[in-house]
Amino acid sequence: MSCTGDIGQVQRRLLERVTVLANDRVAEGVGLVVFEAPRVARSVRPGQFVHLRIAEGADFILRRPFSVHRAQGERLEILYQVLGVGTRALSLAEHGDVMDLIGPLGHGWEMPEGTSHALLVCGGLGAAPMGMLATELAEKGVAVTVAQGAPTAERLVARELLADVARRHEIATDDGSAGTHGFVTALVKPLIAGDRPDVVYVCGPEAMQRIVAGQASAAGVDCQVSLERLMGCGIGACLSCVVSTVQGQKRACVDGPVFRADEVLWKSAEIPPQR
């Protein structure tokens, strides 16, 4: 089966100076930045990420990892949530600003040969790495169903993009301002039962990913999850980003961020929301 992971291994990582082409607020506390990044944009695969140096001379020194939301020609898009000092600085970047990033990084989504139907489940910013995936699956003629959740309708980031490429796009919001009232996890079981997807792709809060992984395995469907860890180097050297798996500790930055759900030993610390 074709696997961006394998590609990830032979793929050359680049340190590229990139220029901000646009940086717009797309929702409360969420921005979409578009970089001119010719070399990385051309080689990145769905589910991979870049390690971005947002500022120099600042009191924070480390890079910040971001999934690639979309890559078109020389344009590379990142969908980001403003959380702290780095993403706040990123939100202030303007057209023409120059930064540098390392990429493409990590093991992306695997697309098993002969997949005819895929279910994409995302919560909140989990939609970020789904953009490239949904587009490429659709181009390959795979039927794409998207189950998307968010706190409010306004926070359904990349909603249009996903709606365009998906054959079916189900929505759940915590406040009921769009789609079903409740968590996206409630949509998954019926969708698996109804559409019998060949594979389920998940990204979002770890507790949510864990629940969906459980639902998929219960239904005997392949499932891939995209996990976040605090990252230092982003290229496999520092061991900051380990994920516990059945084959022992793996590095989210090279062996992930996408893992086969059945490999992951979920953090017992993470108690899934009670419902």
Partner: protein, 306 residues
């Protein structure tokens, strides 16, 4: 203005083509950086900590960012010396660069066992005994914070290795010079410092420590003034050459450590900021000397004007 600068430096029996190497644990075994750095451009490669048996390391989160620095509590996760020799060392052997293996242990016996296993490996140019890791419960820093313990580890490893012996000191001590003299007396050929400063950070939203292990090691520019001071104190106390490190991000930082008394320098956290940092600094050192008509980089060592 001299055209070429002699960039070679001597660490006891070990000659380096230039004074710049990565700091242990921040460069893995070099392979992860191969896309960015031609290892042959560096003075040496320093591997991550290698122990007798595989170590799983600590729970996550293992890092937290702080003002001009970072905390880590990796905990010396590694495959153990056997797997290291078969895998990383075999790969490194195919490159033309001296390999310094960073040795860790929970007990003197473990340090010795690792050193013995590496003694027959011709690809290993020198050992750096890490008696200063703040991230393991037994061993680690405990050996680096008392003179008798530091002396004991050094003596024991010295007894089983003919390779150049580097002992890496912990900054978490009252008198770094005293520890340095103790390891020099037991046969250390080179002293490297500083390892990380023990630190802690708490998330004020969750009230939880930012590191699962609660405390971890502070590195990066924040620690540089402490590191430069300790290199200067150790240089005034011992005769063996020193590998200086702690917050080196730029060429000027590296020069500062050499002026304070370091013969070579190691670049750690900076690799996460700029994966090419080691090469940039090696080239920068050469330019720094050329511009000032300094024909041998070694002349910077201890050249601070008091």
């Amino acid at each position: 203005m001299s055209q070429t600068v002699d960039m070679r430096v001597r660490l006891g029996a070990l000659e380096l083509r230039n004074p710049v190497m990565p700091a242990s644990g921040t460069f893995a075994s070099g392979r992860e950086y191969a896309d960015f750095v031609a290892l042959e451009r560096l003075g040496a490669i320093v591997t991550k900590g290698v122990s007798l048996h595989p170590w799983a390391g600590n729970a996550s989160p293992r890092m937290a960012e702080t003002a001009s620095g970072m905390l880590n509590s990796i905990g010396l996760q590694n495959q153990g010396v056997e797997a290291f020799c078969e895998d990383d060392l075999a790969w490194l052997a195919t490159h033309d660069v001296p390999v310094i293996v960073n040795v860790s242990g929970h007990s003197v016996a473990e340090y010795v066992a690792v050193a013995e296993r590496l003694e027959t490996e011709s690809a290993v140019s020198a050992l750096e005994v890490n008696i200063s890791c703040p991230n393991v419960d037994e061993g680690g820093m405990a050996f680096g914070t008392s003179c008798p313990a530091a002396a004991e580890v050094t003596r024991a490893v010295r007894a089983v290795t003919c390779k150049p012996l580097i002992v890496k000191l912990s900054p978490n001590v009252t008198d770094i010079a005293e520890i340095a003299r103790a390891v020099e007396a037991e046969g250390a050929d080179v002293i490297s410092l500083i390892n990380t400063l023990l630190g802690m950070a708490i998330d004020t939203d969750t009230f939880r420590p930012k590191l699962a292990r609660v405390v971890g090691g502070l590195s990066g520019p924040a620690v540089k003034p402490v590191a430069v001071r300790m290199v200067w104190q150790v240089a005034s106390a011992v005769h063996v050459p020193i590998i200086g490190m702690g917050g080196i991000m730029t060429t000027e930082d590296a020069v500062e450590f050499m002026l304070a008394g370091a013969t070579a320098v190691a670049v750690g956290t900076a690799n996460f900021v700029d994966p090419i940092a080691t090469v940039h600094i090696a080239e920068g050192l050469e330019a720094f000397c050329r511009e000032r008509g300094i024909e041998r980089v070694a002349k910077l060592t201890g050249a601070v004007k008091l």
